[in-house]
Symmetry: C2
Subunit: 271 residues, 2 copies
């Protein structure tokens, strides 16, 4: 694929991922990124010191469902050329979270003052991509209809550990009628780079979820009598794992304030 | 694909569909066909007068999940060249059922004496094909482990009517753990010509099944607490519909005594 290099001050095509990043970089957009640049891939962010990079890469490789890695940077480099030409990871998200030894120390709008030459960025696929595919096929997603966050839960499913990284898989839940649940398995199977097929259907207790109305993250949404709760591996897993590991230094995105890339969701469909 | 014509008295390669048909034709095998010629497609049979053929073809086209048509004959012809070179539909099944005006009048081992010049044969895909694919991936099927028939149910799901043909869809049920149920959706989606993906998961009452332990056909199998009942459209649907329509004359296979073809199950996988 030919890539046209873009200069730092290009405005980007309207509605594109590039245009969204430029708007965020200029602080003209400050809130959640849901709904920005429809069709373009958004990602979860984790920035770690290079000393932890090999273990975290291995952790992602061993746990591709919750941690589908879609882009990484060179140490100290704020670019992620896999995902976009004109991208500055230190300015292009609306808000960040800065952690020291597992404690949240700041929630800045850019991280230029926190930058270090040993930092490596990891961008992890996000359910926004497959949600777009589900809605395109007419499957209604309740948390979107209600304008709230998807409910997320820590489960009894262990991730495969790598170096210091370990902990439970976090899953997101969407209530679906059985025929839609079957169709959703088919549709999301096409998107292994953004969590892929569900990891569980129908029996939350079997994966350690006692009450679906009490999520650990996000907002509760009702599961009706004619619906099944359908669970997907969630990109919050690495943040939960990092909170357990308490690395000396770490930066993540602020919940809901994702990285908007130049890649199209449809490029992630394997068939 | 090059097809080698086979003479009527060829013995067929051991273990092949052809060998199985020759053994049945010679009355050396008289029972159910489950387990015969592993890897080869088996089919449900319906033989109807040509006057009903167009309506039945239309019925199958409108209801591809329960009635996936994999072969048809010319009127009066006992051959089905789509499915095998050396095949005589009047002798190659272990047992048949002959119906007049909806009443069962005979269960013969061959139907040569009932043959008519206006009879058209319809061969409909069967779940044996996708069950083989499920087991090949390590998914245990309880009715097979127990050596009994799969449980089948008339549902509240209506088929789409064509001419006189109408009635409820019949489904088969296999209890699976949730992760296996998700995998089973993926695997059987690859086999649209043999019922394809499930039509329902988890809530039998929603499709008119009051008690999964009381099937309308086949044998009851337990659904354990850590399992979901998974339902597929079933090739018994056309027999149930024919029983409703009560055509003047009709022949079907005897339950469990299917047509063994020369096609491979793997040829039916679309990816």
């Amino acid at each position: 694929m030919a890539v046209t290099p873009m200069r730092r001050n290009d405005t980007g095509a309207p509605g594109s991922g590039h245009a969204a990043r430029l708007t965020i970089r200029a602080r003209s957009h400050r809130g959640p990124t849901a709904g920005l640049a429809p069709g373009f891939v958004q990602g979860n962010l984790a920035i770690l010191p290079n000393a932890l990079a090999a273990d975290f890469l291995q952790f992602c490789r061993l746990n591709p469902e919750p941690c589908p890695l879609i882009g990484t940077s060179a140490p100290g480099d704020w670019r992620v050329p896999e995902l976009a030409t004109d991208l500055d990871i230190s300015t292009d998200l609306p808000r960040y979270r800065v952690w020291r030894n597992g404690e949240l120390v700041a929630e800045p709008e850019d991280i230029r003052e926190f930058w270090r030459d040993d930092l490596v960025s990891f961008v992890i696929g996000c359910s926004f991509s497959f949600e777009e595919a589900l809605m395109a096929e007419g499957i209604e997603l309740r948390h979107i209809a209600r304008g709230c966050n998807v409910p997320m839960y820590r489960t009894s499913i262990a991730t495969k550990e790598a170096g210091p990284f370990h902990g439970p898989m976090v899953v997101s839940m969407r209530p679906l009628r059985p025929a839609d649940a079957i169709r959703a398995v088919q549709i999301t199977t096409r998107f292994p780079a953004v969590h892929g097929a569900p990891v569980h259907i129908g029996k939350p207790g079997l994966i350690g979820i006692e009450d679906v109305m009490k999520p650990d993250y996000g907002d509760a949404v009702e599961v009706r009598g004619d619906e099944l709760p359908v669970f997907w591996a969630c990109g919050v897993t690495p943040q939960s794992v990092i909170a357990t590991v308490k690395p000396e230094f770490c930066i993540t995105h602020y919940p809901g304030s994702m990285l908007v890339t130049d890649q199209k969701n449809t490029e992630f469909a394997i068939m």
